[in-house]
């Protein structure tokens, strides 16, 4: 056997474990190993190394599983409850928007009347109307932002 054949056989020994061999490569390696003591030794060492790796059993504490299951159950409940709260919040936001749209003409007339009654400039009462109209959305957005921030803080802890 030439030096190249040994090199190739050593490469094939590793390839067999890492990527697998084609039928031709397997035949070629087997034929070589039948006659080459040096490469046989390498093949045995490789198999021994992998057998040792596979047989090494890490110690595992079953209490870790129970602890993890408990934590996961609590977190699952928390997520479901939060989802329910968020759904309620979105529904109330949607309702508030619909009510806002429906009541906008009335609100406009109300601000216009107050503006005339107290002789307030148009810019002031229009600004008042705009603030009153967006107030529910701003409050809802602030509540959502606050909830998300506190959730992020909790998960960081």
């Amino acid at each position: 056997m030439s030096e190249d054949m040994h090199e190739r056989a050593l490469r094939l020994i590793d390839k067999m474990q890492v990527e697998g061999l084609t039928a031709e490569e397997r035949d070629e390696l087997e034929a070589h190993l039948e006659t080459c003591v040096h490469c046989q030794k390498r093949a045995r060492e490789t198999e021994l190394a992998l057998r040792t790796l596979r047989s090494a059993l890490p110690r595992f504490d079953v209490r870790l599983v129970l602890k993890t299951q408990m934590r996961a159950r609590l977190r699952a409940r928390e997520i479901v409850e939060n989802a329910g709260r968020m759904r309620a919040l979105w529904v109330s936001c949607a309702l508030s928007w619909v009510l806002g749209v429906v009541s906008a003409p009335l609100l406009w007339q109300g601000f216009e009347w107050i503006g005339h009654r107290w002789a307030v400039s148009r810019a002031v009462w229009v600004t008042g109307f705009a603030l009153a109209w967006v107030a529910p959305a701003v409050v809802a957005a602030a509540v959502i932002a606050w909830q998300q921030a506190s959730r992020a803080m909790t998960s960081d802890e």
């Binding site: 590793d14 992998l50 090494a56 890490p58 595992f60 870790l64 299951q69 996961a72």
Partner: protein, 191 residues
């Protein structure tokens, strides 16, 4: 639809519902494999235990993102790996660039090695455990990681590439180098 796809579909549906019974079942089913992977990745028993718990909490939180076409263990190990890297980043702050591309290479996000033979000796049992502990402690974590995914988990090379978020060629080269190093260390121990 084959049984594996059917099972993946059930897992995906259960995770979307945050079904506690399914989570309990998955934790039991993958307990040992996930812990072994984390131990090989971190080389630290306490860290592996913390990450074990955090991984399942993350699975619960991100469960709605799991797709039935993915293999569950590939997704699970990817989550565990990202958490391990985040955990180290928080503990040993350094520039993100340095972690992404250490020392002018184009290697992807990796863990720093802080394993010691004693860390593995505490974790592995038996006579062979002592030998393998010494060998593993001398391997870089990126080699230990691919070795465990290939030879403990019997994952395909493409799946390993997905978990470690690296090209196939990188995975192969780590496997060849890791195998050579492992063989060298164990050869010395058994001689």
């Amino acid at each position: 639809m084959n049984s594996a796809e059917q099972e993946a579909g059930e897992v995906a549906r259960g995770l979307r519902r945050r079904d506690p019974t399914l989570i309990d079942y998955l934790i039991e089913q993958y307990q040992y494999r996930l812990f072994r992977y984390l131990l090989m990745l971190t080389g630290n028993r306490e860290e592996a235990e913390d990450l074990f718990q955090e991984t399942w909490i993350r699975v619960l939180e991100k469960g709605h993102q799991y797709k039935r076409r993915w293999k569950f263990e590939t997704w699970l190990f990817s989550i565990a790996r990202h958490l391990a890297i985040d955990f180290r980043r928080r503990r040993q702050p350094q520039s993100l660039d340095a972690m992404l591309q250490p020392a002018g290479t184009n290697r992807p996000l990796e863990l720093e090695d802080n394993a010691s033979p004693s860390a593995f000796e505490q974790a592995f049992q038996g006579e062979e455990g002592a030998s393998v502990s010494t060998a593993l402690a001398h391997l870089p974590p990126s080699y230990r990681e691919v070795l465990t995914l290939r030879f403990h988990e019997d994952m395909q090379l493409e799946e390993i590439a997905q978990v470690v978020d690296s090209p196939l060629s990188t995975v192969k080269s780590r496997l060849y180098r890791g195998l050579a190093m492992l063989r060298e260390w164990l050869k010395d121990i058994y001689v």
